[in-house]
């Protein structure tokens, strides 16, 4: 009797530390942030509640709105580019090319670098007069111009380039694992029926990779929301405010500008798309579990 009760309690005991971490560190601090966002807190958290005034100020703020706009552009391009490039790389490596081990390492290597290092390297490469521009000019195109990083309208795209370079290797590795998990019999059957390879990939393999793609999508989406270090290292949000992102807005107001009320409101607003992304995913998983 006692032994059985002990056995049923053991899993809960083992889960307790993680459960406490989730409840205190994640949910607890999220609720605390929500509370602070409703106050007029400046350097320190205060109890002076002001309703939704911080949110009003937030959405009146041109820099915040521009940050959201930039995040939308960045998020779309980054996720799509990473998945397309990552998938093509994975398919390419899946053709049993020689030197697969070397190539896989080369493609995955950028992911081993921090965003800060990636950002700095790309900043040097993209600075007009240095890096890419200079290299192409020396190759015999003296009028070549590539100054996106100092261009108001193009700066955010340079951040896309640098981070896609970094993250697509990881997408490749995950999709490659997915591809390797596909039953070779399917390929044999398709070959027997004379179906071209591209058709097999698009109509059979891709749908089968669904769960892997969902994981990739989720990982990339969270990377989008927390985009901060690459921007700081590459453009510092500039030129002007052209490549500002919400996470940078929040960090600036949290530490530089001593306005944790406004920063918390921004953080809560950022939490919404994360939940919106996560909810359908969790729902689909739970449905699957029941079925």
């Amino acid at each position: 009797m006692l032994a059985r009760r002990f056995r049923t309690l053991t899993p809960f005991a083992a889960l307790l530390p993680m459960a406490l971490t989730v409840i205190v560190a994640y949910i607890g601090t999220a609720l605390w942030t929500l509370r602070v966002s409703l106050t007029s807190s400046r350097t320190f958290a205060s109890d002076n509640f002001v309703g939704l005034a911080q949110y009003e100020r937030l959405f009146d703020n041109e820099r915040w709105m521009l940050s959201l706009h930039n995040l939308a552009i960045y998020g779309l391009l980054f996720v799509v580019a990473c998945i397309v490039i990552g998938f093509l790389l994975a398919v390419f490596i899946d053709q049993n090319v020689t030197g697969e081990g070397v190539l896989r390492t080369v493609f995955l290597y950028p992911y081993a670098m921090s965003f800060v290092a990636t950002g700095l390297v790309w900043q040097w490469m993209l600075t007009p007069g240095n890096g890419i521009e200079q290299a192409v000019r020396l190759l015999g195109f003296p009028n070549f111009q590539f100054d996106w990083i100092i261009d108001q309208d193009m700066a955010i795209y340079t951040v896309v380039i640098a981070t896609v370079w970094q993250a697509s290797g990881l997408v490749m590795a995950m999709l490659l694992a997915g591809l390797r998990g596909i039953d070779p019999e399917i390929w044999k059957a398709a070959r027997l029926d004379g179906i071209p390879a591209w058709r097999v990939y698009s109509s059979i393999v891709l749908p089968m990779l669904g769960p892997t793609l969902a994981t990739v999508f989720l990982l990339l989406s969270t990377a989008v929301i927390k985009l901060y270090d690459a921007v700081v290292a590459m453009t510092q949000g500039g030129p002007g405010t052209a490549s500002e992102v919400p996470a940078k807005f929040i960090m600036d107001h949290l530490f530089l500008r001593s306005n944790i009320g406004l920063a918390s409101a921004g953080a809560i607003v950022l939490l919404v798309p994360v939940l919106a992304l996560l909810a359908p995913y969790a729902y689909a998983r739970s449905r699957k579990g029941q079925a």
Binding site: T43, F44, R63, I150, Q236, G238, G240, L256, S258
Partner: protein, 411 residues
Amino acid sequence: MYRARNIAAACALLAAAALPSLAAAQTAEVIHWWTSGGESAAVKQIAQAYRGAGGVWIDTAIAGGDQARAVTLNRIVGGNPPTAAQFNTSKQFLDVIEQGMLNNVDEVARKESWDTLLPAPIINVIKVKGHYYAVPLNIHMQAWIWYSQAAFKKAGITREPANMDELFAALDKLKAAGIVPLAHGGQSWQETILFSSILSNLGGKDLYLSVLRDRDQRAINSDAFKKVLLAFKRMQSYVDAGSPGRNWNDATAMLISGKGGVQIMGDWAKGEFTAARQVAGQQFGCMPGLGPNAPYLIQGDVFVFPKTTNPDAVKAQKLLASVIVAPATQLAFSKLKGSIPVRTDVDASQLDACAQKGMAAMKDKARQVGVTEVYLTPDQNGAIQDVLTAYWNTGMSVDKAQKNFAAALKN
């Protein structure tokens, strides 16, 4: 061998246990962010003076002002404050004062009669409700106008511009001579410095104060202020294409090599010229403003003393406060830091030529004003920084910029 090490370790432990009771009387842990070569040499001067006065100095240097201030605030809130901590001469620590988390230094202030000794902009931030809460260490002036003698000569400019029109004329001449007229680092804080310089030099002291100190909406919406914004934007036509994102020291390097003509930057730029073996008056020139009556924009560093009831810590705080304001410490520190002392009763002849110019300008009290951070909260200061950098970098109209500037300072 092992035993010897064990005994040594035991002795060290004993010593560590005994040390607090011996030295607690004057032990000061100081948080600051002076980590570069010149800066750490300067802060060593304070440490030495403090040790000379019988204290024990524990150095907690944290790279980066933001990080250092965040650590200070966290430790104050967490109940384990340092004995003293560095802040800028600004409203960065106003909230800490209002929460009652700092000890005042009225005793030292009264003894040294700060009310008459210190410049008004500094008193403005360190004296709250009749009490002094910070000890000022030095004065930095962020809007020095630096120029390359070689570039001026090549462009045929024979004398220093003394007003805004003459500055624009000089910039035009530099442009015609094929030199980058304005060596500018396109980062938002540098754009704010440039703007402050134009507001003070073109708008004058009265407009400067009513816009930044009084946040007077009428002054911000006036034609005079519009002229300032237009002149600020006009400066943008004198920068080169590589300006956005450039670091300030790279802009200074343009002056050193003669590629650039003028840079508007704080007195810390002096260190770059010195490192390149250039001498003021020979290879480069420095002006604290346009003309003999231009406002002198004051900023600098202060130390605050977090609240504690430990009588030994309070004693250490008082000793450190009196060491910091002593003329000898002030001079020794500023000589290495490139700033100038907060007090005018020190021997200026030991400082370099530009610092002497600054000391002379400071003597005229009518010229003393604070930088934006002296009058604005970090939040307001950040808000105008956003407006200015957007206006500088995009095609925003002057009317829109004026409207946004007014909105940024409304609350």
